[in-house]
Subunit: 145 residues, 4 copies
């Protein structure tokens, strides 16, 4: 539960900002897609390719970490704007189930947006629905504005 | 998101089990109340008293930890039954807001119930509703049955 | 590894500050003892009594959490002084082994002391030596000075 | 503190096993180097290249996560042998300082090696020495042998 938050950037503004400032996130071909924002929440989709796979037809742990971390960055950016860059200070991730191949969706929710710290929850599950494959909570430091 | 789970103990059965096996949890007067279970979820209420307070009229961090840990134990017990005792192997807690005095509710949700490990999410907020004061994820080891 | 830090309070000054400001930590009889500080490190001893026990002759999880959190508070206080009160923002604890009855020692080490955040590592083991029973890392927010 | 452990594989055996079973870890050019093992400890070096960088001349968070996770896998493999594959169940990472460009060393220590779970601590610092840039603790599930 949390007091309602209001995004201050549109999806297009966030995507443009990412493309300009973090082009390397989609190096080797666009794989992250951000097209869904709600108050306090952003959903980022990963369309995995060979870069993200491990033998046994599964998606690697670092790929799931990177998706949670990127989606958390996106939800914070959408709610505080591009004036300040949030920096990850800690992240705790639980790997719940072996992900099958195919698109994953990360639903990221702001649990607290303070002046100096933002705490976010990220749930990763198959894009079409299904049991969560990973769950993370992370803290970001917000530089003085 | 998770596949629906089914409780295997009633609220009364859980409470009797706790009273018999963990009487010390309510030492100094009953403070934990468990009266709400849903598939995969349990809600435990803490009615704090002097034991749980810190100067500045707030509830102590160890009290919030103990509430999350106990509620997690309860939701697992309700879903696996009293045959095996779950043991906390790790717990990550984020303190989000200073709790005001008054009853707190911990909503605990099973994220994964495996044969050997159970991963649980716990959200602590004022009993009447309001912003979360703490959020935890924890892993429990389930002895072989 | 970390750049050497220098304590700014003596052990006696820390103990006096704790006794004045957090007398409730030793409610029911003194159980926490702080008598060892080194650059970046503090060691706090817990002499457990009935309050801290669980059936099966073990020390409870919340007791280990409280010891880690208190020792972290002490090491930060000793290194930044009493002008600002650090507040726990997150804590991750791994329970490694069932503690036997008897005094426990928590060795707490500052991993980073920034202007706004302090990150601490805490290792809990039997006071006489032996395998660790719990290990925690925690982040504290330091109010503007 | 922990009871001494004994590696059961040599460095060469571990490297051969990794090359055969996880060739993709060094896709795009060898970047991970494992040439140091002690009882309970392994040290893995990362020689970063363009893949691992972020604008601002720093090494990305997912790169640090991947290094900690890989080094933890290596230390466990070296101590339990190739008969069973450890799977990451949870990982908590604190980002302490912005890493400068250049080789990083991850020192990974087993805190507990149980029958079913292994808990590991990982410290990442510049290869030549210096303040830690990240610290992680992680839990791995060990399949029945």
């Amino acid at each position: 539960m949390s007091t309602p938050l209001t995004p201050v950037m549109t999806i297009d503004e966030v995507n443009s900002f990412i493309d300009e400032n973090f082009p390397q996130i989609n190096d080797g071909g666009r794989c992250y897609f951000f097209d869904n924002v709600e108050p306090g929440v952003a959903i980022v989709r990963l369309e995995p390719d060979d870069r993200h796979l491990r033998p046994g037809e599964t998606i690697s742990g670092p790929t799931l970490f990177a998706l949670a971390d990127f989606a958390a960055y996106v939800v914070i950016l959408a709610h505080i704007g591009p004036v300040a860059l949030a920096v990850t200070t800690s992240l705790n991730i639980n790997f719940l189930r072996k992900p099958t191949l195919g698109p994953l969706e990360c639903r990221c929710r702001i649990m607290k947006l303070g002046k100096r710290l933002c705490v976010v929850e990220a749930d990763i599950h198959p894009a079409g629905g299904g049991d969560s494959v990973a769950h993370a909570t992370a803290t970001y430091s917000i530089p003085p504005r």
